[in-house]
Symmetry: C2
Subunit: 410 residues, 2 copies
C-alpha cells in the first residue's frame, strides 16, 4: 500500500461530511435492516429477477437518483451526479439469488441474526447501497465522478454475469465507466481483485443405440464419453495461475439391456488466466473430438456413428485488477483503517467482466458477518457495531474511488 | 433330427384325438382372441403381476386343473394329471410385461391385428395355454406325464426370472420336473435352446465432493468411473460363445460447479457360456477396483477416498439344452411338420433356469406373428390360419414331450 492512499483514506475518514454520513448509517441502522428483510422476501430466482428489480427500481427512484431506469437486460440503475466532467464509476449489487422459484424466502430473525435464502448473497448489499445513498445525501457529500448505482441481474450460475456483461458491452454508459465496485456478501476479510474465468459446457454424445446383447459391437456413446472424461482428468494445468477442470454432472442411457442412444456430461473449466483458460478449453474440445473419433474407429458404425454436440452453458471471462491499481490500494487502505486485514483473492463475480476489459474493478463487502451462502440455511448478522465497521470501510472505498469533493455537512 | 422324432410327431399329428384338438382350437379361435384381449388389458408391470395373476388363477381353475394355487413368489399354476408315475413337465408363459404402472394397455384391433403393450410378449401365450387345455379336454387327450401349467412372474428385466427360479429351487414340484417348455411370444421361426446368462450391476463410485475450483485436486469419482468404463470397453470377448458387455445407464453429480459426491453406472454382462460369463464378471470387478485405486493414487484423498459399491441387480444363469436332446428334436420335428423352419438360438428366457440346472428346456412360440415387443407399438396378428399353424406345432411339441397316450376322441 502506498503511503498516499492511506493518507487519502485518513482524510476521508476524518472529513466532517463522512462523519455525518456514518452517524446517519448508525441512526438509520434499523431502517437498513428493514430494507434487507423487505428485499430478501421478494423472491429473485435466476432469470426471474423481475419482481425484485421492479421494487428496487422504485427504491432507487425514491432515493433521488437521476435517470433511474431498467435497461434491456433487466438491470435497474440510477445516477448520482458528480461535479466532474462526467466520468463515471459503478457501484453494483446483484439482484438475483441462486434459489429456484418456490423457495421459502421468509426471513427469520433471532436477535441480530437474520436467516433466509439469499439474505447475505447479495440482498444485504442492495439495502446497504440505499443506506449509502441516504447517508451521502444527509451529509451533502459530493463526488468528482458520477456514480451509477446498479442492481444487476444474472450474477449467479447460469446467469453467467449477463447483467454486468450487458452494462459493459451494450449499455448506454459502457464508454464512460472508469471503475467498477461490486458490493457482494457481508464478509470484510477479503477484497476480490482477480476474476476467475470459466467456460462451461454441456456435452452430448449420441449414437444409434441397440440391444445390449444382440447389437453388441456397435458404437456406444458411453465409451466415447468415458474416454473423454479420462483424458480430461489427465490434462496438466498450472497451480499458478490457478487453473482447474471438473467433470461435474453425468447422465444418459435408458435401460440396463440397451446400448445408450445418448449420454451427456457437464464440464466446468476455470482459470485466473485468460491464456490458460483458452489453452484448457482448446485441449478439452480436442479431447472430445478425438474420443468420439476413436469410438467410431474401434466399434461398428453400421447403424450410425457416435456424434458430438458441445453446447456452451457458461462463459465468464478471466481477468484481474493489479494489486498496485489505485482501486485496490484505496480499498485496502480503507479496510485497514477500519480495522480489517483483507486478503486479496480471485473469485468469480460481476467484477470479472470489467476486469476482462481492463477496467479497474474490485469486489468489496457489505459489512457484518454471514454464512451458509447458497444453502437454505443462509444467514447474516446485522449486529450494529460490526455492520457499521464494514459499511464504513466500503463507503470510504467508494468515496475514494469516486473522488470525495471538499465541502458537505460537518 | 433323428428319424424317430419325425415319426413320433407324424403319429401325433395324425392321431384322431390330436385332430379333434386342432378342430377345437379352430372352432374356438375367437374365444382365444377374446382371452388375449382380456388378459392384455389387465396391467402386469414388473413386480406388480398380482391382478393378472389372480385373474389367470381363476381361469386355470375354470379349466379344470388340479391343485390350482398361487405359490410363495406369485406364480399361478395347476396340474393336468398324466397316466404315468407322476413325472412332470412344465408348460409356462410369463405373466409380467416390461411396461410400468400407468401404461395404457387398452387393446386396439385393426382387422386381424391387435395393438397393445405386452399383447405378444407374453400375454398371447397365456391365452394359448388355456386354448390348449380346452382342446385337450374336448379331445380327451391323456399324457403319460403330469403337465404343470404355469403363469409365472418376473421374467422381464429386473424380475430376473424370479418366478421360474423359485419353481426350480423352492417350489413344491422342484424335484419332479423332467422338462420345461416356455411358450413366449408368437414367432415360429426359432426355438430357443440356449440360455444367455447375464450378470447386471449397479455400481456406485462415491467421494468427498467439493467445489470445482476451490477444491480442485481432490479425488473425483467421475474419473474413476470413466476409467472403469473405458477399460470395460476394451475387454476382449469371444464372438463364440457370444459374450458381451454394455455400459448402459449412467448418472451422478449435483451441480456444474461441484466435484460430484457420487456417480453410478449400470452394467450388463452376458454370455452363452457359464465359464466366459464368469471370466467377464471377474475381469469387470477387477477393473472397477483398479480404477478406484488409481483415482485415489493420482489425486488428493485428504478429504476422503473414492469408494466402490457394487450392487448386483441381475443374475441369470447361462445354460443350454443340447441340440440332440429329445426335447429339441421333438420341437424341431413338430415345427418342420407344420411348415416352419426354425433356427436354434440362444436368448435370455425363463428356460435359462432349468437349462442351468441341466434340465431339458426350450422356448417355443405361441403362433401367428407379431412385432415391436417392449415398445408401446407392440402388436400381434391373430389371423386364424397362421395362428393355428403355430399352435399346432407347439401343441404337438408339448404332447410329444409329455408323452401322448393312445386313445382319446376321434
Amino acid at each position: 500500500m502506498q503511503r498516499d492512499h492511506a493518507a487519502e483514506i485518513a482524510d476521508i475518514l476524518l472529513h466532517p461530511a463522512f462523519r455525518t454520513a456514518i452517524e446517519t448509517l448508525d441512526r438509520e441502522h434499523e431502517r437498513t435492516v428493514a430494507d434487507i428483510i423487505t428485499l430478501t422476501e421478494i423472491p429473485s430466482p435466476p432469470f426471474k429477477e423481475d419482481k425484485r428489480a421492479a421494487a428496487y427500481l422504485e427504491m432507487l427512484r425514491a432515493h433521488g437518483l437521476d435517470d433511474v431506469e431498467r435497461d434491456e437486460i433487466g438491470n435497474v440503475m440510477g445516477v448520482r451526479r458528480g461535479t466532474g466532467n462526467g466520468a463515471m464509476i459503478v457501484v453494483a449489487a446483484h439482484l438475483d439469488t441462486v434459489f429456484p422459484e418456490g423457495t421459502d424466502v421468509t426471513v427469520r430473525r433471532e436477535g441480530t441474526k437474520l436467516y433466509a435464502p439469499g439474505v447475505g448473497d447479495d440482498t444485504r448489499s442492495l439495502a446497504v447501497l440505499l443506506a449509502f445513498l441516504r447517508a451521502m445525501d444527509v451529509a451533502k457529500i459530493r463526488t468528482r465522478h458520477d456514480i451509477l448505482f446498479v442492481g444487476d441481474v444474472g450474477e449467479e450460475g447460469l446467469g453467467d454475469l449477463r447483467g454486468v456483461r450487458h452494462l459493459f458491452t451494450q449499455g448506454r454508459y459502457r464508454d464512460k465507466i472508469e471503475a467498477f465496485i461490486t458490493v457482494d456478501s457481508p464478509e470484510m476479510d477479503e477484497i476480490v481483485v482477480g476474476g476467475v474465468g470459466s467456460k462451461r459446457y454441456s456435452v452430448r454424445f449420441r449414437g444409434p443405440g441397440g440391444h445390449s446383447f444382440k447389437a453388441f459391437g456397435l458404437v456406444n456413446p458411453m465409451y466415447a464419453m468415458a474416454q473423454a472424461i479420462v483424458e480430461l482428468g489427465r490434462i496438466p494445468v498450472p497451480s499458478q495461475p490457478p487453473t482447474t477442470f471438473c467433470a461435474s454432472i453425468v447422465g444418459g442411457g435408458t435401460s440396463i439391456n440397451a446400448i445408450p442412444e445418448e449420454t451427456w456430461i457437464e464440464i466446468d473449466l476455470r482459470s485466473e488466466s485468460v491464456a490458460e483458460l483458452q489453452r484448457l478449453d482448446e485441449r478439452c474440445r480436442a479431447i472430445m473430438v478425438a474420443a468420439v473419433a476413436q469410438e467410431n474407429a474401434v466399434r461398428s458404425t453400421k447403424n450410425g456413428e457416435v456424434t458430438l454436440h458441445i453446447k456452451p452453458v457458461g462463459d465468464r471471462p478471466a481477468g484481474g485488477t493489479p494489486l498496485h491499481a489505485d482501486i485496490v490500494q484505496r480499498a485496502t487502505a480503507a479496510y485497514r483503517a477500519c480495522g480489517f486485514t483483507p486478503a486479496h483473492v480471485a473469485s468469480s463475480t460481476d467484477a470479472n467482466i470489467p476486469m476482462s476489459l481492463g477496467i479497474p474493478a474490485i469486489k468489496i463487502g457489505s459489512g457484518g458477518t454471514g454464512g451458509r451462502a447458497h444453502s437454505l440455511a443462509e444467514w447474516i448478522d446485522v449486529e450494529k457495531t460490526a455492520s457499521l465497521a464494514g459499511m464504513r470501510a466500503s463507503l470510504a472505498t467508494i468515496l475514494a474511488v469516486a473522488g470525495l469533493e471538499d465541502g458537505g455537512a460537518d
